[in-house]
Amino acid sequence: MKKLILSCLCILVFIGINPYRSFASWPIGKYRDIVIPSMFLYHQTDRFDRDGHRIKGDPGTGFTSYSANLYVGYGISRRLDLIASVPYVYTQNKFANGDKITNQGLGDLYMGLSYNLVNFNYVRYLSVQVSGIAPLYNRSLELGLGNYGAELKLMYCGNLPKSIASKGYFNTEVAYRRYFDVQGPDQLSFSGTVGYPISHHDQLSLELLFFRSFSSNKAFNPNINNARDYAFFKPSLNYGHQFTRRFSTFIGGYYTPFGKNTGVGYGGSVLAIIKI
């Protein structure tokens, strides 16, 4: 769930930096601050087995997670940004016999530095981000993997070529994440997003996320916060509306049509972008 939250955040959060064209890998800008409170919902009933076959969930079973997240970004310089996010997570795991386990508390603190390596005429940007992950909860609460971790991410974003869409934008990210535990996991993700303004204040964007988590622990876990070895493909569609230059809101939905050893997840998110 944390990864999903972060994935959604990474996509949706940054749409708001400039609702018409910028998100994700655009540098925040010197002295600029961004604060993004957000809410996320994730639910699964069915699951994919290790071969990618869809397995119907038993009646009454399911895993649901609600999360409230606070993301803060600060432009230290024209190239260097400091970012941090802290989620508050509520999870509920329902079993066939009617039992259910609920947990809640702070999730993983995600904190890092993003550096713009190259700008191409201030139209396209290539950046790298190095982040650390620290659990803010007791491991028994299963609000995350319970391990420290680190992530290296390469990001490339910019305007789409005018021949494709004159006002559109794109963002691509390749990330490697490692949790410091004997079971890992090691996680690789690739995401590609295209966005397009549909009016002066509104935009739509489509993101495709490919995610693979590798671990020696192959057990299926419906609680995606705790799962270690799985893969999925997740498209998400997002809609953003700008109220003022400093305040925008976004709503999005996603679904997992393909996966391995993971839930058939779906859900949505609502967030606000506040630029200070």
């Binding site: 600029r32 005429n121 201030y122 002066h200 230059r245 630029k275």
Partner: protein
Amino acid sequence: MRNINIYLKWTLFMLLTVIVPVVKAHALCLQQKNKEGEVILDAKPANKSALFKEGEEISYKLSIKNTYNEKQEGKFSYVVTSDDGKKIFENTTDFSVGAGSSKSLNVKVAPKGAGFYHINFMFNLSTYDDTVRKVFGVNPKAITSVLHKPDDFDQFWQETRQQLSKVSPQYKVIFRPDLSTKYKKVYSVEMKSYENLLIRGWLVIPTDGSKFPVHYRVPGYVVELKPNMDNDDYIAFDINVRGNGNSKDVVHINTDNYSTTNIQDKDKYIYRGVYMDCLRGLDFLYSHANLGIDTSKIFVEGGSQGGALAVVTAGLDKRVKVLTMQVPLYADIRDNYSISASYKEQVVPFKMFRQYKNRHPEFSWEQFYATFDYYDPQNFAPMVKCPVLMGIGLLDQFCPPRCSMALFNHLSSTNKEFVCVPNSTHEVDFNYFMFQNLWVREKFRIP
């Protein structure tokens, strides 16, 4: 026999009229093919900006591509001169490049003192002669110039401002629905300026918001400014100073004579009123906060003459919060005179000044400076305290880089930056304007 004769005649006829010309044409074609082609030259400085530090080795990488079908042989020379044409270094070597092949050369120049230098790479080859002209700078922030500021400079401008303040502006703000769009309201603005002259400008207000920073643009040399519809995040105010654009009711002077109008009298020189027109524009902005103008966020911008007007405006009036200028005309006018003296062909601004002097032999350069020292933008630079961004083109002859940097170095602002565009003449590039946009947003904390 008769048939044979006919046959021979026919053959001879064909030979003379068709075959021989075709063969000749083919031979000519082959000959031309050998001659067709070119030598493509490219010279790249070791530092992308073509700016080097003091003591740093200056080097260029030259790429030479020969598209001829024959080897090119001859001489390669390079000459380094100061920006006012004094030869500093010259070197000549034998050079050859094979048919259809490429070659690269590294040219190193010994470290130089602070300044700008011209470097010409010359190829005199078998069938091709060409020269690539480049300019590089060394430690431009150390460039100095002498300020020839008249003793009564401050008093002169104080009195001029007092005279302006006595002119009732009589502002008129006229909505122009014909020019407006769903997201921008366009207004034609009129006001009375120095010597009670009517000037006009264009105000463009985004409909999407209630309060905006202002992009105040001042014009280039006899250039008409029109409504600036480009930016959603600023109110755009473009003023046409006297004699420019739609402010030609009284002053209507062609480009050859504009800058020399009343040059013999500092009190009547055209730019006295022009500079005041720019301040009157600021008066207008400050008196119309009700239109959504955020008077705490006004940035003035201009290129060429506009660059000069922008620095003068920011120097004379502290209501300007941020200044951006490109290739400021007239800066460090005395050094500009020396540099322009080395040009084979005169360009703006000394083209006009020299023409005027030729027409008025009694008018001396001393008299020229007696007036122009009151108007040299460089003399206003120490009065500028706000953040400044300046863009220069290294190949600029109108505003030689040395003069622009001299002005820049005289700015009192502690928050100032410049951008150098190595292959530009009297202009900057798209990249500069992208950066300027981000830079101004940074200064005003605009999201």
